[in-house]
Amino acid sequence: MTAYLGIDVGSVSTNIVVINQAREILAALYIRTRGRPIEAILSGLSETAGLLPPGVEIAGAGSTGSGRYLAGVMVGADVIKNEITAHAVAASMYVPDVQTVIEIGGQDSKIIIMRNGIVTDFAMNTVCAAGTGSFLDQQASRLNIPIADFGEMALSSSAPVRIAGRCTVFAESDMIHKQQMGHKLSDIINGLCEALVRNYLNNVGKGKEILAPVVFQGGVAANAGIKAAFERALKLPIIIPKQFSVMGAIGAAQLAREEVEKTGRTNFKGFKIAGLPYRTSSFECGGCPNNCEIAEIYEEDRVIGRWGARCQRWDVM
């Protein structure tokens, strides 16, 4: 059976999926990156290989996410795509007439406006990480609540408390203040959900025309409290695809498929690379006053990729 591999290496999670010709998911994996993308990619690949039914042949591979270049050179990706395009492609696979995609991940959040199946506008959070998954994670562990229960707790609230959402520092001190005044935890959590949504719509979503169907994806879509807060703020139904947490990887797999259909061949090195040694190193180039910080990745003893240079000096491997 012919199938396509998609890898999304994000700041918080590394997601890997395999889809077949009929766009069915053969394997989907969501693991934590833990600041070690290479290890995450390698262990994710060997785990994925174990999940696949026998006889699956990978006919194309794509990578996306902030670690897309790293993942791309490691596995031999046919396409290395930015996460905005990947998420847009994936959303329209499930909801073909989608007009708005809300994506909230670990450290960034984005809005993608689509009309007639193509992206017409997009925005990503720029200078502020308030309202992203990492902050929710951090608050859940401060309150000692499993992150999985966060959303349900918010839904049980009857009277939301107002929390400042502009900045995580203000939000946290506001939450502590309200908690010491004796507000119920569920109300505070619900207030936090509303604050994050308000912050998202005022920053990332500012000036954008948000029309239905609205698709909500990324790790934070698991949080029912945030979904409900979006529905209240937008007065629109919010669709959450079943595979919401790995949509970037699905988009990458689909883009890989489109690419190999054009080229007729794949560069994918195979799951065997999970057994190869990889290491990285970095140095400061002294070639000019830029002093670029160059990072390089080795497969066995060979350099397979370099990043960080502002000129072509280090392009030759």
Binding site: E83, I84, T126, P289, N291
Partner: protein, 369 residues
């Protein structure tokens, strides 16, 4: 005579170095903004000041360490903080132990006497006004060639056959223009430079997108402050047209406004009818004009906390909708990680390409380059 320095904006330093030397001054050439520049800038500038103030702060500290005693810079027009930066820089530099003085040139069309007095102060060789005029004319010629060559790289780079070839030739020809001194040498070097860039092997059939760049002058003119966005776009197959070059800006602020600026103001009038400081009005006007000229998109570059550009940013939402042109804004600060910008640029290029292929054929090469 005091050793003189000045802000660095792209390649224009080559002209100012020649001009200051001609007037009899020893020059400390400002280094290309780098990590050390940013470190000094962030350490000594107020936290909420904008990126141009911080980069210049760092540049001045670097040049002061090399012995600069007099800084020559330009003022600002309209309500923008840049107008007081000269004085602020001087106070900060004096307070951290550099006894430098600063000469701030204001627009001569508004302050002609002040302008001449300041020119006299820099005239260490006691040249006649006529001789000074000759120096300025040569400097102007050099500046024009520097701008023209840079503009040409924006057209050639997206079509180059070998990635990086244009930049390599560009770096080389800059030196030709740099060492040219007499009027005829400058013309000869400039023409040769243009010819060399034109001769970079190109793919005439390649379908390229056209993007206009608008925004605040410093982050537009100094590639080190905008993470070399124009070069990055060129490599992604995008021809860029920058709305501002030093020669154009100087013309508008010395003698009288060119017809080009006036039409930009006309285009902006329905949205911003008056000067709001900085280049906010121009950013809006240029975006309207780019849309009318059939560009595929516009990128706005703004220093973080820049009020005029924040105002323009909000209005550009509407301009983008009314004129059906995608607009992407970057607020620039001291971060040097390029990944976030690359992601957005790649997505923006995808967006424009899909929009265009849906609307019809991509246009091939324009007339003659």
């Amino acid at each position: 005579m005091p050793k003189v320095t000045f802000p660095r904006m792209g390649e224009s330093w080559r002209t100012f170095k020649m001009l200051m030397n001609d007037l009899g001054n020893e020059v400390v050439v400002p280094p290309r903004p780098n990590k050390r520049t940013l470190d000094y800038g962030v350490r000594y500038a107020p936290e909420f000041a904008c990126l141009p103030l911080k980069i210049l702060m760092g540049t001045y500290v670097e040049t002061c360490l090399e012995g600069a005693e007099l800084i020559v810079t330009s003022g600002g027009s309209g309500p923008c903080r840049a107008g007081l930066y000269g004085q602020l820089h001087k106070k900060i530099l004096n307070s951290i132990g550099f006894p430098v003085d600063i000469i701030v040139f204001e627009a001569p069309k508004n302050h002609p006497i002040d302008f001449l007095r300041k020119v006299n102060r820099l005239n260490a060789s006691r040249l006649s006004y006529r001789a000074i005029w000759e120096c300025i004319k040569r400097g102007w010629e050099k500046l024009k060639y520097l701008d023209d060559v840079e503009k040409l790289t924006h057209v050639v780079r997206p079509r180059e056959l070998e990635k990086g070839a244009t930049t390599r030739v560009y770096r080389r020809v800059l030196e030709w223009i740099d060492i040219a001194y007499t009027m005829s040498e400058i013309k000869e070097a400039g023409e040769a430079a243009l010819q060399a860039i034109r001769s970079v092997p190109q793919d005439a059939e390649r379908k390229v997108l056209k993007v206009g760049i608008v925004g605040e002058i410093y982050v537009l003119l100094e590639p080190a402050s905008n993470l070399e966005i124009e070069e990055t776009l060129g490599i992604l197959g995008v021809e860029v047209h920058r709305s501002m070059f030093l020669t154009g800006w100087t013309q508008d602020n010395t003698v009288k406004e060119t017809s080009e600026t006036l039409s930009v103001k006309d285009a902006a009038a329905p949205y911003i009818p008056l000067c709001i400081g900085g280049h906010g009005q121009e950013s809006v006007g240029h975006t309207v004009l780019y849309a009318k000229e059939g560009y595929d998109g516009v990128i706005q570059l703004a220093p973080f906390t820049c009020i005029p550009e924040i105002v323009a940013r909000t209005i550009l939402n509407r301009v983008s909708r009314v004129h059906n042109i995608p607009v992407l804004t970057f607020f620039l600060d001291e971060q040097t990680g390029k990944a976030g910008m690359t992601t957005r640029l790649e997505a923006f290029v995808d967006l424009m390409r899909r929009k265009k292929s849906q609307a019809g054929a991509l246009h091939a090469r324009p007339e003659v380059v």
